[in-house]
Symmetry: C2
Amino acid sequence: MKVCIIGLGQIGGSLALALRKNKKFVYGISRNKDTIDYAVSKGIISDGSSDINLKNFDKENFDIIFLAVHLGLYEHYIKKLKGFGGILSDVGSVKRVFYRLSKQNGFRFVGCHPIAGTQMSGIESADSNLFLDKYCIISGWSDENSKDVISNLWKEVGAKISFMSPKNHDKFVSAISHLPHIIAFSIVNSTYSIRKNNSGIFGGSFKDIIRVAESPAEMWADIFLYNSDFVVKQTEKQLAEMKKLIHMIKNKQRNKILKYILKTKQKI
Amino acid sequence: MKVCIIGLGQIGGSLALALRKNKKFVYGISRNKDTIDYAVSKGIISDGSSDINLKNFDKENFDIIFLAVHLGLYEHYIKKLKGFGGILSDVGSVKRVFYRLSKQNGFRFVGCHPIAGTQMSGIESADSNLFLDKYCIISGWSDENSKDVISNLWKEVGAKISFMSPKNHDKFVSAISHLPHIIAFSIVNSTYSIRKNNSGIFGGSFKDIIRVAESPAEMWADIFLYNSDFVVKQTEKQLAEMKKLIHMIKNKQRNKILKYILKTKQKI
């Protein structure tokens, strides 16, 4: 089985490395020639190219092509790959956009979202164990056979599989991933004037909350935009909850606050 | 030097254990007889009592008495300890209340807030290394000599010292600790309806953010109430930042979002 991965960031690089460990042929494409050289020298990919316009690229050499680039680049690559006979897959954080574009352009396809990855980025953060015991959400596919092939690939690299419709996926991750990033970016700003003179002193709770504010800006701008409806809705729910709690605090309603916190503990 | 610690939760218990390691005599008081028995049996305290009304308690046996109870219990103990000739200290998360009560009642006193502790609670989570390389904020004191005695005690158990006025302290922790807890409690609620059918799948960012929602409810109700002015103000700043970001997302302002995230990275 020959696999091509377009985009060699943390997720693309880690998938390449994990597949290589399982003796797959993995071809990598990155806009950055240094990334390709590094990835080949470290054995992360079997071979690769920085030709992002896919000019001398024979797509029919591959059984599977993964998009592991920012969501904003999907249209570019899907145009270039049109007519591909194998399975088109991806690892993006929003699934409706991949589903729509793949379906419109007549691909065999399987949308994927491994719930893995850290605030780090780039090929240097590739880790063959990144997906071990993590969920990979399979979300939107053209046919059962392709779905099985891609599901098995993720199982091979250690992931657990979950299935969701693209819409349910996008709603779900707006809550468990996109909202925490909205909070991380904004709390860095809202607390800055107070923190700047005491920069060494962080509570554990604060350190944890801002960890993901180190995440790549371009990637997150795209995620917020391609999932804007659910991100906005989920953030508005969060604003309403915070206002509710703050209202109780303002009015010194100790029993209500206590009940609110205790109720929380049953919902974690 | 003989030390009494009233309240043997995670912070009181850890302080007791760390002082015992340094060969101090530590007397513990807890409302729970089992806690005293456990703490004596594990060598966390030298001796102790569950007499929370301090009826057979001779305060003048001690050089230092620490309050390590919920803020709502401060008035009770300060009344009982009135006239104490040694240094009254505490480990509470809000410093204006300790400062006001200690000053009003004529104590020699030093307010303290070790920026340590986890979501765990109770004597079983006592850890003699809890304060190692963590900051202890010394905030509000009656005299320089007492301040030095207490500062040295914290240094002995491995903490780094920082000084702030009670007001500055309370403002500072509203940003780096109390706001993250407001967010943790409220995000558990705002995301619950979406999570409940997919409970096994959490992003790392979500896991990190909700960790502290496990914290003790009574303790946090008190913290929010005794620091309500700064907590409300800081949460309102956070709400404004989130609204700003959401406005850009709603209006698909990619460049503005990108700038916002990039600006964040310089402020972490």
